[in-house]
Symmetry: C2
Subunit: 339 residues, 2 copies
């Protein structure tokens, strides 16, 4: 059922089998599996996740390579609702461990948010990450290219940069290392710091040895049209001509609501999980980009299947078996032979 601020009070007494924080590819996959296992689940989706920004999902078997991320999300949401999952547009604020269950506090509504609390046996954390983009005065200029010809994921889009003149934008020196992987796809790489950090002599020497120019002047704007990057203009008025780029400025992890749970194990900002995406807190699972591993739609979708399957197994094994108490009358049938 689609929940809104008007009908969600019907669910405040529900003990969900699982609340899924995040309605991206992983969260929706978990919801579809949980619902098809006959378990009660609620997807809480804040909107504007990473897959929402994908212009074309090129590497996911079954979908036309021109399918935008939003189509995947729309289909997945419809399917999850269709199989019986609940779905609410809201922001997960806080998770509190109550021993036998978890309390998930969410904010509903943007201008005057209302805090409401749901109860769940399990939490599936699938809130993902969002890529940090260069902060220009005119952010629309960034959005005109980001996700089109200015990429954020080398695994997804390296192919589309093949032998093109490319920029690599970093926010800290270690992120420049990506140039030495990106060169698999193209060696024509110019590294930009956007004037945000100093570059060591050692790194400058390495870049020079590879023939990769380094520009430390702040970016003024991206040049091009119809989402096709054609160049970069810097604040000193200089320009370079490039047709593609990779933004490697790090990510914001949507994991604040988990930081107060002491049982969780972290590797940097990633949650450590087992082969079923279960964290070191037995009631909390983490999917996709939030956990350690490869950040890909295909991985998140499989993670949703694994987490849901483990939750189903655990709940199923904790319950008494259903027996065939009263044999359903079956007048059309011949008598059964002796068992």
């Amino acid at each position: 059922m689609k929940l809104t601020s008007r009908n969600l009070d019907q669910r405040l007494d529900t003990l969900y089998d699982a609340v899924i924080a995040g309605g991206g590819a992983g969260g929706l996959s978990a919801a579809i599996y949980l619902a098809r296992y006959g378990l009660k689940c609620l997807v809480i989706e804040k909107g504007k996740g990473r897959s929402m920004w994908m212009q074309e999902l090129r590497n996911y078997v079954g979908l036309d390579p021109h399918t935008p991320g939003r189509d995947l999300l729309k289909q997945g949401t419809t399917a999850a609702l269709g199989w019986g999952a609940d779905h609410l547009r809201a922001f997960v604020d806080k998770v509190t461990d109550q021993g036998d269950y978890l309390e998930v506090q969410v904010n509903v509504g943007k201008t005057h948010p209302t805090a409401v609390t749901f109860k769940a046996k399990y939490l599936i954390a699938a809130t993902g990450i969002i890529d940090i983009l260069p902060e220009l005065e005119n952010m629309q200029n960034v959005y005109d290219y980001a996700g089109y010809t200015l990429h954020v994921c080398m695994i997804c889009d390296g192919f589309d940069m093949w032998d093109q003149k490319a920029i690599l934008i970093a926010a800290r020196e270690p992120q420049i290392e990506a140039a030495f992987v990106l060169n698999w796809f193209t060696p024509y790489i110019t590294v930009l710091t956007d004037g945000k950090f100093p570059v060591s002599e050692a790194m400058k020497t390495r870049l020079q040895a590879h023939g990769y120019p380094l520009i430390e002047t702040p970016i003024a704007r991206f040049l091009g049209e119809n989402h096709q990057l054609q160049g970069v203009e810097f604040t000193d008025g200089t320009r370079i001509e490039v047709t593609t780029g990779l933004v490697n400025m790090g990510s914001i992890y949507h994991n604040h609501y988990l930081k107060a749970i002491p049982e969780l194990t972290w590797d940097g900002e990633n949650l450590v999980t087992d082969e079923f995406c279960q964290t070191t807190h037995p009631r909390i699972f983490a999917l996709g980009d939030l956990k350690k591993g490869v950040n890909q739609v295909a991985i998140a979708v499989a993670d949703g299947c694994l987490a849901a399957t483990k939750i189903w197994r655990t709940i199923r094994r904790s319950q008494p078996p259903r027996i065939w108490v009263e044999q359903v009358p079956n007048p059309a049938a011949e008598p059964l032979p002796a068992g």
Copy 2:
């Protein structure tokens, strides 16, 4: 490129980065990723795999739940070819370890098969399994229901059996255990042995305690129309009325071509792999149903991504970096500021 017996001689001298045995969901995912990493790969597909039989793929995010498996395979094959993978309809017969590479011997053509050998740095084993079905005199009668209302996968289709009168068909006593999981979805279970094996008193007692009838008479035919199961008729003329069923008679593993490789580690018929689907032979990866784990399309697709990514990383790290030897002339650009 689509290879056939007419043009495959063009590829007999090629050292592929990877040959993928099996063009199901996992193999196609691997091919799409490998091709987009710019690696040379060949998919060898024998046809009629497990996903080909799926009438509706209900739990894969992004596809309408009525999508048949064959549509997924068709789209994936087109996409893999589009990104540059090779594809050949043939049967993988034998894999030989030549140290620096593998030889993959395949049979092309059905009536007069020709044996040809491809060379590859890596093999991705994605040939999957096929479910064993009851062997009736009229197999068309089995195919009329299998994959529609007579299911082979409880995770996929348990939901569709909810509280219905169901049969569980086993080929060996341990397979009857599935009844005690299937009862999550429905307790109205009749267990059939098709007259193929004796059932121990201990198992009979357990079934009786759950109220699940056991029928040991051979099956004569399935009853129903338009793929909707309505009952089962036995060889003694008796009938029961059921609307759904689960066939749990085991699987045939398409892994014969790997049995002579001594470095592989097996768990029964499943290959043991690491978190990137790499087997204990460093040049061989195994995906989906061939490896240990959950048998689901979503898992196989993620496996393809993981195996391809690991192969890409290994090949990339073994090669010298591409440097920007000659800066591409760029007359429109202003001079670069000093790096």
